[in-house]
């Protein structure tokens, strides 16, 4: 029985609930808009959409990394992992850009309820992406220094990291739909 995999799946279960609450808050105030900026006026769905594609792509590269790991192709594994980290990193920098832009237009976390719920929701997602990147980077580091031995426990851990990363992407699918697409519809 795979301990790490099970543990991470359970962790995801609880994380899902955590995000659910942030999403509820966002939706709740989206339906009672106050004065000031709203998703429609403040956000740039197109640009964020492009960065989102990078994030989704990183899920694919993570899958590739996993399969080449199972195929014991360590150099390929390393390559895919690095690519995943890069894509994830690009997504984060995209989010950073977005935040800067918003601040410049005076949309700070305490501006109004849209701003608050937007920043808490996307901010906590960003944090999760970052944690995921650290985890993947560690695995990549091991691969680079030829420390991947392909043991049972290691495979378990590897899959666990993968699951977590796919979860982070899945959450973004929901957030992107609710925050960005809803804004232009």
């Amino acid at each position: 029985m795979r301990k790490a995999k099970l543990a991470v799946s359970l962790f995801i279960l609880s994380e899902a609930n955590f995000f659910l609450l942030l999403i509820i808050a966002y939706v709740f105030y989206h339906s009672y808009p106050g004065p000031g900026p709203t998703a429609a006026t403040a956000l740039n769905p197109l640009r964020t959409g492009l960065f989102s594609i990078l994030l989704f792509a990183s899920s694919a590269t993570m899958l590739m990394a996993a399969s080449s790991y199972r195929a014991r192709a360590h150099r390929a594994t390393l390559a895919w992992l690095v690519l995943t980290v890069v894509l994830g990193g690009l997504f984060l920098s995209g989010q950073a850009l977005e935040y800067v832009g918003l601040y410049e237009h005076g949309v700070a976390v305490n501006r109004n309820l849209f701003a608050t719920t937007f920043f808490t929701l996307t901010g906590f997602h960003g944090l999760h992406v970052f944690i995921g990147l650290v985890a993947i980077a560690i695995v990549a580091g091991l691969a680079a220094s030829h420390r991947l031995v392909g043991s049972e426990r290691e495979a378990d851990a590897f899959e666990a990291v993968g699951i977590y990363w796919h979860f982070v992407d899945a959450v973004w699918v929901v957030i992107f739909a609710i925050v960005y697409l809803w804004a232009i519809l």
Partner: protein, 553 residues
């Protein structure tokens, strides 16, 4: 009870083997030592929370009392509630599961020993953080559910509430980590032959409970981070003055808060389901029903949260939904009450202290449960919510329920943990003092509530009957103090000069009793074969092994 005294008997700690004395405990990743540390920290905070309770009772002993000022009083009852729930009950239940469950499933340790240690130290840190607020401008003072907007910076300028938010967030993380650890342990580390349907009920209920924690605590954390944003980044999520919603906080909090109250009772149910059969000399009556009703309760507990909000004016349609779900929970709980009671029949009941606490639990919890149902009858709630009738309800379920069950469990497992028996005579004293003190303290709160005494008042006018009822309640609280001191004295005596327990003093049937008391670092030298729910019974009565008898009907 000194760590060292326990350690020498707990055998050389596995991980900290290199270390001696206290350090062996601090560095330990052994589930037995971590479990015991959980229980010790819980006892410590129980003393603190109890002293806070005594302060509350002293202040309320007589009308128009000036012993505590309003602000101090509000800090005290907020800390009392928060402490008892998050730093006493949850750690105690966690500690008992962490100690007992690997033994009950024949495992060497929990699935992730280091994570386990992290959970413990994080919860201890959170406790200290919470109490540090006293020295940082005042403790939180908005009640244990910190309703907005009273908890918003506009009305609560002291930092107390910020400490409250941070501490509870840490506790949430610690509990979630602990729950994950428990589930993985129970799912992956069971000894060969112990199928899910053969799990001891305490293990079974802890498993269900861990899922409750897993789903409910993130709800608390989510709400807390938003409140933190309001407090530190002056956003307005829960601030009506700026378009925020005060009711959103209530929905969030009780979305966690109600499951939380079952999180505090399910493991207690589990312990009762171990103790009653053992001391009745027969298996639990209707294992299937008892186990299944637990799952039913767990599911229902996520559907009733707004019964804490009956007075906010939600509209009758919503009200009725929550009335219905709240009443439904009485059914699976009733199943347990009746199955436990019927288990006594045709048994041969040994009145050990543990058993007496278990029997006390059934009676007292039933009272608390019934008043709970009276709240589900919404017009009654409209009269009695936020009165002392409510205070009575939740002390009957939390003290009369959870706390009595915890004592039952402690008297049951203490010999296993320490290798020594607790003194039964002192135990009986402890039990009767608790039962009498408890009812003196809390029963008269029912009429007090009906007389219109609101909760959370630092003093009250001298209306007819109010003083005498409050005075009696205060006296009861001091009897409870005596009972707790008897218990601590008993523990001390046992550790220093208690009679040696032996492996299986109660001749119980689950695996933890198959190893030495206290168990060696590796828990088992060899685990007996498991063909049923009572492996040790089967060993003792091969001719009347459970499986066979069950088959014969």
């Amino acid at each position: 009870m000194s760590g060292a005294a326990l350690r020498t008997r707990a055998g050389e700690p596995s991980a900290g083997a290199a270390h001696k004395g206290l350090l062996a405990w601090v560095a330990s990743v052994d589930h037995k030592q971590i479990g015991i540390m959980y229980m010790l920290s819980s006892l410590l905070f129980f003393a603190i929370g109890g002293i806070e309770a005594l302060l509350i009772r002293i202040q309320l002993a007589v009308p128009n009392n000036h012993f505590l000022g309003p602000d101090t009083f509000n800090q005290i009852f907020t800390m009392h509630g928060t402490t008892m729930i998050f730093l006493v009950v949850m750690p105690m239940l966690a500690g008992m599961s962490i100690y007992a469950i690997p033994l009950m499933i024949g495992a060497r340790d929990v699935a992730f020993p280091r994570l386990n240690a992290m959970s413990f130290w994080l919860q201890l840190f959170a406790g200290i953080l919470l109490y540090f607020s006293f020295f940082a401008g005042g403790a939180p003072n908005a009640g244990w559910f910190s309703y907005a907007p009273l908890s918003e910076p506009a009305f609560s300028i002291s930092n107390g509430l910020t400490y409250w938010v941070l501490a509870l967030t840490c506790l949430g993380i610690s509990s979630i980590a602990g729950a994950i650890n428990m589930i993985v342990t129970i799912v992956t580390l069971r000894v060969q032959g112990q199928t899910i349907r053969r799990l001891p009920l305490f293990v079974w209920m802890t498993l269900v409970n861990s899922f409750l924690i897993l789903m409910a605590l993130p709800v608390l954390n989510g709400a807390l981070v938003m409140l933190l944003a309001d407090r530190l980044m002056n956003s307005q999520i829960f601030a009506p003055a700026f378009g925020g919603s005060a009711l959103l906080w209530q929905h969030y909090f009780w979305g966690f808060g109600h499951p939380e109250v079952y999180i505090m009772i399910l493991p207690a149910f589990g312990m009762i389901s171990e103790v009653i059969p053992v001391f009745s000399g027969k298996p639990i009556y209707g294992y299937g029903f008892v186990a299944a009703s637990t799952v039913a309760i767990a599911f229902l507990s996520f559907t009733v949260w707004a019964h804490h909000m009956f007075a906010v004016g939600m509209g009758h349609v919503y009200d009725l939904f929550f009335v219905f779900t709240s009443m439904s929970i009485a059914v699976p709980t009733g199943v347990k009450i009746f199955n436990w009671t019927v288990t006594l029949y045709h048994g041969r009941i040994r009145f050990t202290t543990s058993m007496m606490f278990a029997l006390g639990f059934i009676a007292m919890f039933t009272i608390g449960g019934l008043t709970g149902v009276s709240f589900a009858v919404i017009p009654i709630d409209w009269q009695l919510t936020d009165t002392y009738y409510l205070v009575a309800h939740f002390h009957y379920v939390l003290f009369g329920g959870t706390a009595l069950a915890i004592f039952a469990g402690l008297y049951y497992w203490f010999p296993k943990m320490s290798g020594r028996m607790l003194n039964e005579r002192l135990g009986k004293w402890h039990f009767w003092l608790t039962l009498i003190g408890f009812n003196l303290t809390f029963f008269l709160m029912h009429p007090l509530g009906m007389m219109g005494m609101p909760r959370r008042v630092y003093t009250y006018p001298d209306l007819p009957g109010w003083m005498i009822l409050n005075l009696i309640s205060t006296i009861g609280a001091f009897i409870l103090l005596a009972s707790v001191l008897v218990f601590l004295w008993n523990v001390y005596l046992s550790l220093t000069s208690g009679e040696v327990a032996g492996d299986n003093p109660w001749d119980a049937w689950t695996l933890e009793w198959a190893t030495s008391s206290p168990p060696p670092p590796e828990n088992f030298t060899l685990v007996p074969p498991v063909h049923g729910r009572r492996p040790l019974w089967d060993l003792k009565h091969p001719d009347r092994a459970d499986e066979r008898m069950a088959a014969e009907g």
